[in-house]
Symmetry: C2
Subunit: 129 residues, 2 copies
DNA sequence: GGTACCACTTTCCTAAAGGATATCGGTATA
DNA sequence: TATACCGATATCCTTTAGGAAAGTGGTACC
């Protein structure tokens, strides 16, 4: 149950930076995957099934083709989404979450869970003044 | 077990943006809390107990006082860390994770878990060429 | 008086993220 | 021939994140 083993996280008190950095790297990796203004929205959009470029763009207000293209490429590089080109006229391109992309689900759920509690807390505070 | 209820996430296919945004907001909130180059390292550092300003700075190589100050303020505003000033000379200031800050643990663990698998996957790929 | 320490703040700068707009090559349709 | 659609690129610009370096106010020590 201990994803990060406490007895290995000694860096702050013992200055063994290498060990600490090693523990931190995977967390940063995960964060990188989800950072970027549109990535989550795109992932979410793709959880409902295959989508075409323009279709995704239409569904996410404010998303420009440049950003969509960039973010989709990053998802592709990380093998979270796949790109399928069909030789139609005009060309059809479909994007889809990979099985690997769907493994993000528990992480996103955890983010959602914590975020929701946080939001409630903030609202409760501001309600009380 | 379903933190995000699927039947409520209809925005991409039905264009009901409001509902979708509502589901997305908490996830973004959580991500905001953890984004920033130093935040995780600072949180990690504080999981080992109270720390003074300079102490944290010394423990995290490359961290400037400006950034530390900024990040600590954000942690404070979000009530993840608390600041205690002692009237000594020179003044002593201690920072500590709040109980609320410690509730981030499962989320960070999940990030660590997914990130570790991701890292292994990347290394495996590059190993096979 | 000079220096040093703490906990910052201020100023200036660079780099990266992101946005607006225009354009491209190809095909279809009027 | 003109227009529109698809799936992007390219160019330019603004905004934000982050870093380097110096300074501040207070106290203590020599």
């Amino acid at each position: 149950m201990e994803a990060i083993e406490h007895d290995k996280r000694k860096c702050p008190t013992h200055l063994s930076t290498g060990e600490c950095t090693k523990q931190l790297l995977p967390v940063k990796d995960a964060l990188d995957i989800l950072s970027g203004k549109w990535k989550l929205q795109i992932i979410l959009s793709l959880t409902f099934g295959k989508k075409r470029f323009k279709q995704i763009q239409r569904e996410i207000p404010g998303l420009t083709p440049k950003m969509l293209s960039k973010e989709l490429k990053e998802l592709e590089v990380n093998e979270l989404a796949s790109r399928h080109v069909y030789d139609t006229a005009p060309v059809t391109v479909e994007y889809e979450l990979t099985a690997y992309g769907r493994t993000l689900r528990p992480l996103i759920d955890e983010l959602h869970k914590w975020g929701s509690r946080h939001r409630k807390r903030i609202i409760a505070k501001s309600g009380r003044g």
